[in-house]
């Protein structure tokens, strides 16, 4: 008989990312992923009393009630999280906190992002034209708009301070592609990559090349967080949320306190302190990887290596699922596909599957703890969690 764990993840579901989700809408994608995640947890829609979702095209406001009504839910807690790529990880501690506060006992954390090859997602141009933010006024006129150019300016500054990282960035892309070979849902599964191919790919925004960047896709992913006592009755091993951190410092990279010392440090330090788990105990790092350069900064600022040493760390470690530092074993978004906020959730679902020993051909051996990090905007929103597993 185990002690009652903290609020825990007991079910996950994830759609394979695709370039075009066809006629699917936010609501149809949400409905199917909700049912699938709940079934994985041995639960149904009627068991849900907490719902966390995110800004969607379907309604300019009131998304939680729109979705709750669509799915026939009676909710004690309903909210929308708006932290870009950090949204999914940010949902986890909110779900756990709501459960601890007695507001709900089964909280569905759901991300769903339809996409057409025309490229419209919920962060698309319709919203931008109406934007009267400082960003629209002072940054957009110069083309400081997309993520790639923002991350490129970070990488340029990083390389000015700490030296060239082109090879280390390529090695990250290659190792994650090797991981994706064992995750059939990954967009680039079965399409191996080598370092030379990355280094020869098209220059998009100096110093970032095409294969340093994620491919935008559509998709959906969800996890079910439940009260500790319920977690022990779930059909699969409970994955407790042991500690979490969050940090937000800016919206546009120009106004960030630093380009090379990021708020990832605040977020990760809080998560590790709350969990009481050491970095050395982490068997899987599931780190948000919108760009290869993001991974380098996260390795440093989350405390896995010292500032300026990420490139050497990458060179010294095997980052594949059976290596000395398993990283993004689903391929990361670089190889799995980036379905907007659902891409952030892919780092959570992979950590849960691995902790539950469901990693199939890419299972990390003797895994006890995973660190999951979400990063939104241009290094703007940071959220971290340490996850464990209750072995019965």
């Amino acid at each position: 008989m185990s002690a009652v764990p903290p609020p825990s993840i007991v079910g996950v579901a994830e759609r394979a990312p695709v370039r075009d989700t066809g006629d699917e809408t936010d609501l149809t994608l949400s409905a199917s992923i909700a049912v699938e995640a709940l079934a994985d947890a041995g639960l149904g829609l009627s068991d849900v009393d907490g719902l966390l979702t995110h800004p969607m095209d379907v309604a300019s406001r009131l998304v939680p009630s729109t979705l709750g009504e669509y799915l026939g839910m009676r909710l004690g807690y309903a909210d929308s999280v708006d932290l870009g790529g950090a949204t999914a990880v940010g949902m986890l501690w909110r779900a756990a906190a709501a459960i601890r506060a007695g507001m709900c006992s089964v909280c569905l954390c759901l991300t769903a992002v339809p996409r057409t090859t025309a490229g419209t997602t919920h962060t698309g141009p319709t919203r931008r034209t109406a934007d009267l933010s400082p960003w629209r006024e002072f940054d957009v006129p110069y083309g400081n708009i997309g993520a790639t150019e923002g991350y490129a300016m970070i990488a340029m500054r990083y390389e000015h301070e700490f030296g060239d990282t082109a090879r280390a960035r390529a090695e990250i892309a290659v190792a994650q592609r090797a991981n994706a070979a064992h995750q059939p849902k990954a967009y680039f599964s079965g399409r191996p990559l080598d370092v030379d191919e990355v280094l020869a790919s098209e220059l998009i925004a100096d110093p970032l090349r095409k294969l340093d960047c994620v491919l935008p896709t559509g998709g959906a992913a969800a996890v079910v967080v439940v009260r500790g006592d319920l977690a022990l009755r779930a059909p699969r091993p409970a994955v407790p949320i042991l500690g979490a951190g969050e940090a937000v410092t800016h919206k546009t990279i120009t106004y960030a306190p630093s380009l090379t010392d990021t708020a990832i440090k605040d977020s990760a330090d809080r998560a590790f302190a709350a969990a009481g788990v050491a970095r050395s105990a982490i068997g899987l790092a599931s780190l948000y990887d919108c760009y290869t350069s993001t991974v380098l900064l996260t390795l440093e600022d989350a405390g896995f290596c010292a500032k300026g040493e990420a490139a050497a760390f990458v060179g010294d470690h095997d980052l594949t699922w059976r290596g000395s530092f398993p990283l993004n074993t689903h391929g990361g978004q670089l190889s799995f596909g980036q379905s907007d906020v659902a891409g952030g959730m892919s780092h959570v679902t992979e950590a849960v599957l691995q902790l539950q020993d469901r990693g199939e051909g890419r299972q990390v051996r003797d895994l006890r703890y995973a660190f999951v990090h979400g990063n939104g905007g241009i290094m703007s929103e940071q959220a971290s969690v340490v996850l464990g597993v209750v072995v019965s």
């Binding site: 009267l132 400082p134 629209r136 006024e137 002072f138 940054d139 957009v140 006129p141 110069y142 083309g143 400081n144 708009i145 997309g146 150019e149 490129a152 300016m153 970070i154 340029m156 500054r157 000015h160 098209e202 220059l203 998009i204 925004a205 100096d206 970032l208 546009t252 990279i253 120009t254 106004y255 380009l259």
Partner: protein, 133 residues
């Protein structure tokens, strides 16, 4: 060349664009803590004071970081590709987004000294930067 994406000034930011039209770069100076503030705000982001005065900036700064956009990031910038997107650190302290003109992007380097210039279109004068001679 097509005009840049047009800003939509608010009452708080209008003095900045009015000064740009006179080819003057201005920033705010906090009467509470003396911080230099950019972009324009109604309260100081450092100390919270609402005593913010418009002051002339030297127009000198340093290239803090940059990239070269090899693909257009906005349809109105399409005929400028490849173009420089820059973060400029003003000598007064604040950073702003701009571009560097008049130099081959391949010759740029972080840390280079910059001087403000202005690029006029039909309705707006945009601060841009040149490598200081």
């Amino acid at each position: 060349m097509t005009g840049r994406p047009t800003p939509h000034p608010s009452p708080v930011t209008r003095p900045f664009w009015a000064a740009c039209a006179r080819h003057e770069l201005t920033i705010q100076r906090c009467g509470g803590c003396s911080s230099a503030v950019f972009y324009p705000r109604p309260v100081c982001p450092v100390c919270g004071s609402s005593r913010l005065d418009w002051v002339a900036a030297t127009g000198r700064g340093t290239l803090y970081s940059y990239t070269v956009a090899r693909r257009a990031t906005h349809r109105r910038l399409a005929d400028r590709v490849p173009y420089v997107i820059a973060i400029v650190e003003l000598d007064e302290g604040p950073r702003l987004t701009s571009t560097v003109i008049g130099t081959d992007p391949a010759d740029l380097a972080i840390g280079v000294r910059l001087q403000v210039d202005f690029e006029d279109d039909e309705t707006v004068s945009f601060p841009v930067f040149r490598v200081a001679s």
